[in-house]
Amino acid sequence: MNTTDTTPTIPPVASLSQRLARVIELVGGKHAVVLGGFSLAATLLLTVAYSLTKEPIEQSALEDLRHSLEQVIPASIHDNNPAGDTLQLQVDGSPVLVYRARQAKQITGIAFETSTRGYGGDIRVLLGIDQNGKLLGVRVLHHTETPGLGDKIEVTRSSWITRFTGLSLGDPPDAQWAVKKDGGPFDQFAGATITPRAVVNGVRDGLRLFAAHRETLLQEATP
């Protein structure tokens, strides 16, 4: 009956400050204004910070990639910029980004990222492989292994990862791609077997991927 009476209305002859006070009361009082104001300020600040830092962050990510690529593809075998010469390869429905190193337009080596399941999550490994299928270098890009145990796969902590350089799919033989505990030639770490085992498997899988897609990978398309 009296629904129209209970609906709060702004008096038609009210000063601006009175109207404002009424509006504030309608939306829930001072608290809502405080919290809303803070949210608005936070959003604004974050937007500004994000747009200011976007480009430098992308720049440094690119720099990191270039630095990692330098470690798995020696500068002596290419005269191009592998980070800028990429190929999108479809492997089992998921894309693999391949970086190509060229000397006088000839592909001399490639690098790509492969992922393997470690102890604490995925380990992302960057492989550099020359045109004959021999490993030029291996580096771990990202991992969440146990600090102090599994992190010896980082090159800054141990030289373990450099053990792979020069190896290929037949050397050691396929069945021998394993840590010493499993009968292979690769060292495990004291207290951590799962991590090195995962990396060994990941590197072997990467080499298999190279063998399976060799033609496409080494195809001489102009960059």
Partner: protein
């Protein structure tokens, strides 16, 4: 200034975040498998805590009591995100080392705890000092725990310090004995053992010190400046 001295002593020792307030135990247990990591987490937390305390103190007049908790959370989350972005953009080398810890700071209850119990009742300068002292206490606790676990578990102390603090600090990296130590010290169980032992040690020290001249225990209360009527 005795108030400032009180704040410093409170943050670093008497009311230490980890050993007395028993706050922030999650990062304290998770990152202290090595001294360098404890130090990194401690320093990153200290920087955020000083800034968030100062900011909360600065804005305390604007924040109404009923919505203070969400407002604090908003301030802290915004601050940490901006610190993360800025470090990633312009201090990239440092970010590569500390970047792992920064998102963890958002959920560190120490930051909210200090905003609630100190910064919203005190001046900007005192709040910043409180952040510095509490952060220093946190850093001290984490570095100590990390050192003990690293010595017991890996036989080294401050390994990787050159990565965190620059090549000059590589001299800190020391190997105390060859070979690996007791594995359990690096695993989570070792964290609990070391934490328990260190809390017991602090209590014993405090009780020892208190014995000659009895004073009201302040281990459980929050900082005296905040608790004062």
């Amino acid at each position: 200034m005795s108030q400032a001295r009180d704040i410093i002593f409170d943050g670093v020792w008497r009311n230490n975040v980890v050993f007395s307030q028993m706050l922030s135990l999650c990062p304290a247990l998770a990152v202290t498998s090595a001294a360098t990591q404890g130090l990194g987490m401690g320093l990153a937390t200290m920087a955020v805590l000083v800034a968030s305390n100062a900011l909360v103190a600065l804005l305390r007049g604007l924040i109404t009591d009923e919505v203070r908790i969400p407002a604090f959370v908003l301030i802290i989350a915004t601050l940490v995100t901006i610190v993360d972005l800025v470090m990633n953009a312009w201090l990239h080398e440092l970010h590569k080392v500390l970047g792992l810890f920064i998102p963890l700071i958002v959920v560190n209850c120490l930051i909210l705890g200090r905003a609630e119990s100190f910064a919203c009742k005190n001046s900007v300068a005192l709040s910043a000092l409180d952040g510095l002292a509490m952060g220093a206490g946190f850093t001290l606790a984490l570095t100590l725990m990390g050192a003990l676990r690293e010595i017991g578990g890996s036989g080294t102390v401050f390994s990787g310090a050159a990565n965190l603090l620059g090549p000059a600090m590589g001299v800190l990296e020391t190997r105390l004995y060859s070979g690996d130590g007791a594995l359990v010290m690096i695993l989570p169980a070792g964290g609990f053992i070391v934490l328990g032992l260190m809390i017991a040690a602090k209590r014993t020290l405090d009780a020892h010190k208190k014995a000659p001249r009895p004073q009201p225990a302040s281990v459980h209360s929050s900082s005296p400046a905040a608790a004062a009527p």
